[in-house]
């Protein structure tokens, strides 16, 4: 890609209030042409409202939405160059699959042969070739969703909106559809905007993710940036699992910093933080970035820990809980300070889960580049 990304949807200072409740609070964000964009957030955060405002089913109280440079104010949903796949799929139950898919085409004035060709093409795209005469009540939930997809894609919209597309599917089918949706998006090259509350879904499908919390954009980033460099406690906590400790910045230089956390002890970082000394900040540490071992074998590591920030951070504790999940084992460890920390450990060999048990004393270490400092 040589060109600068071209925004297809521009959301500018959009606020939506329902009575006294503010569902969307002064949101501005651009969605680029051809990307798979995911709006991620807990239920009731305003993400669906945002999507419905793009589609035209809700109107912004303030601000404006541009699609392909054109202001959408006053343009009803049936005149917008976007199409939507509804959470309930909204497949018309009294029409056959072919009639469902052809519905929008016929309204758009497409005639005869072309309708048929495009319907067939769309159904083949979603792997429903040969299902033309089926009625929706003879199909599974997953198949109905494909009908809804075909019905929207056949319109060749500039943007396809998907409202919680996978929430009604069972776990296996959901994983499969995640791949298929990504694949489909690449194939048709249409911008997809998806709403979901499921972080796995978001991380696996998106080019970029907008995390929404309480009507505001909490962070806008690629999946890996979101996970590794969360901007605030909300994002760190919502995306993946994390340990968060409050602390004060005691050392802050361009290439190293230290945070004094009452719960965790001193945490060393191998980069600067750029914040005022003594200010309240938070340290986030992902469970999988903490190494666990029996206290004895940690001697060498402890030596290394003395040389922080280049070396390793170090802590001690006692196992208070564990759950074996097959691929990994999750530990809940009580630190010497009394605080608790979650650690995950991959079961790299078949008997790894037998290494530790309840009430074992353990020591932990983590790299100086693993903790993330959060200012808010």
């Amino acid at each position: 890609m040589t060109d600068a990304p071209k925004p297809i949807i521009q959301i500018q200072n959009v606020t939506k209030r329902f009575g006294k409740m503010t569902a969307v609070d002064n949101v501005s964000l651009d969605i680029n042409a051809g990307e798979f964009f995911v709006l991620l957030g807990p239920s009731g955060c305003g993400k669906t409202t945002l999507l419905r405002m793009i589609a035209g089913f809700e109107l912004p109280t303030e601000g404006r939405i541009l699609i392909d440079g054109q202001n959408m104010a006053g343009i009803p949903p049936n005149k917008r160059p976007v199409n939507m796949v509804f959470q309930s799929y909204a497949v018309f139950p009294h029409m056959s699959v072919a009639d469902n898919v052809a519905y929008g085409l016929k309204i758009a004035g497409v005639k005869g042969r072309e309708v048929q060709d495009r319907v067939t093409e769309a159904l083949e795209l979603v792997k429903l070739g040969g299902f033309e005469t089926r009625m929706p009540d003879q199909m599974s939930g997953g198949q109905r969703q494909r009908v809804a997809l075909a019905r929207s894609l056949v319109m060749r919209p500039k943007v396809l909106l998907l409202d919680e597309p996978l929430s009604a599917l069972d776990a296996k089918l959901r994983a499969q559809m995640q791949f298929e949706l990504s694949e489909l998006q690449e194939k048709v090259g249409i911008t997809f905007v998806t709403v979901t509350h499921d972080q796995d879904e978001a991380l696996s499908m998106a080019c970029r993710i907008g995390v929404i919390n309480k009507g505001e954009v909490a962070q806008l980033a690629t999946p890996s940036d979101l996970y590794e460099y969360p901007a605030n406690r909300f994002v760190a906590d919502f995306v993946g699992s994390v340990n968060i400790f409050e602390g004060k910045l005691t050392l802050d230089e361009p290439d190293r910093a230290a945070v004094d956390c009452p719960g965790l002890g001193k945490v060393y970082l191998n980069h600067g933080v750029t914040g005022p000394h003594g200010a309240d900040i938070w340290v986030a540490l992902r469970p999988e970035k903490i190494y666990l071992h029996v206290p004895g074998e940690g001697k060498a590591v402890k030596a290394a820990a003395q040389d922080a920030p280049d070396g390793y951070n170090f802590a001690r504790g006692r196992i208070k809980g564990m759950s074996y999940l097959g691929d990994i084992t999750l530990f809940e460890i009580e630190l010497e300070t009394g605080a608790r920390i979650r650690v995950s450990r991959p079961n790299l060999s078949r008997r790894d889960q037998e290494d530790f048990t309840w009430d074992d004393k353990v020591s932990m270490h983590w790299r100086a580049d693993s903790p993330v400092v959060l200012l808010g």
């Binding site: 035209g56 089913f57 809700e58 109107l59 109280t61 006053g74 009803p76 949903p77």
Partner: protein, 280 residues
């Protein structure tokens, strides 16, 4: 619903568009204007209904002093109360039968029970007239036994409505509740009393309200079954309207409208608007 919204109208907010509001307003006026005019003019100090000549309650006094009218009202309320109680029992029992059991000719029995809802009132009225004549039903019993014939007729057309309402409520009954009760040691009867009855209670309330108003409302069937000593309120009002329009009718009607409104509000307090709406 302010007449003009402050925020723009979203696509599905049909009822927020101005013309839709005017239309619904017009329909509401159509439905209520006659009743409101009637109620206002029951306080009009004039023999004729058309011109306002000052406030008076004398027609209420007159209506109250009109023994025949009061008697008719008492008859109507008595019949409605009796018919409601009987319809509730019969209707609930029939609903349980149709919901619970599989038996020969079930379809026919089901259809026959709901027939009184479909058969035109005039035909039912005629049928009861002929029936009570054919069996020589005694007409000279003491009050309230002389209301028996009308009450029987009312029960016959009220209880299918109770059955219908209770049955649709029973359809949402979770059989596991019954099994749980039995698992905890309840007998059939205890299950019925402690689990099933509480579940269908909303339907019973709705059914009672429906029976009571249907019975109170009925003119045609009663017209064919009532004798000179068993005039009900609608029959009395009918003859008054037929032969002379008197302001007393306005007063008595206003009282009955208020009774209806009060009953409806009691039902709403007990059930909520939605539950009542769903019974139709």
């Amino acid at each position: 619903m302010a007449l003009l919204g402050r925020t723009p109208v979203a696509p599905l907010e049909y009822s927020r568009t101005l013309w839709m509001r005017l239309w619904v307003g017009a329909v509401m006026i159509f439905l209520y204007a006659p009743l409101i005019v009637l109620m206002i003019f029951s306080f009009n100090d004039s023999k004729r209904n058309v011109v306002w000549r000052g406030f008076t309650t004398k027609y209420y006094e007159k209506a109250m002093a009109n023994d025949a009218l009061v008697e008719a009202l008492v008859n109507s309320l008595t019949i409605a109360a009796l018919a409601t109680i009987a319809s509730l029992v019969l209707g609930a029992v029939a609903a349980v039968m149709l919901w619970r059991f599989r038996f020969p000719l079930k379809g026919a029995v089901d259809g026959t029970i709901s027939l009184p809802i479909i058969v035109p009132e005039i035909c039912l009225g005629v049928a009861f007239l002929m029936f009570f004549a054919a069996v020589d039903w005694p007409t000279d019993l003491a009050w309230p036994f002389n209301l028996g014939a009308i009450t029987i007729a009312h029960i016959t057309f009220c209880f299918p409505f109770v059955t219908m309402v209770v049955r649709s409520r029973l359809a949402s009954f979770n059989r596991e509740q019954e099994e749980a009760a039995k698992d905890l040691g309840a007998t059939e009867w205890q299950v019925f009393r402690d689990v099933l009855i509480p579940h269908i209670k909303p339907a019973l309330v709705a059914g009672a309200l429906l029976s009571f108003t249907l019975s109170l409302d009925d003119f045609v069937i009663t017209y064919f079954t009532s004798g000179p000593d068993t005039i009900t309120f609608p029959v009395k009002v009918y003859s008054m309207v037929r032969f002379s329009v008197t302001p007393e009718v306005n007063a008595a009607s206003t009282l009955l409208i208020i009774l209806t409104v009060v009953l409806t509000f009691i039902a709403l307090k007990l059930q909520g608007v939605k539950a009542i709406a769903e019974t139709h």
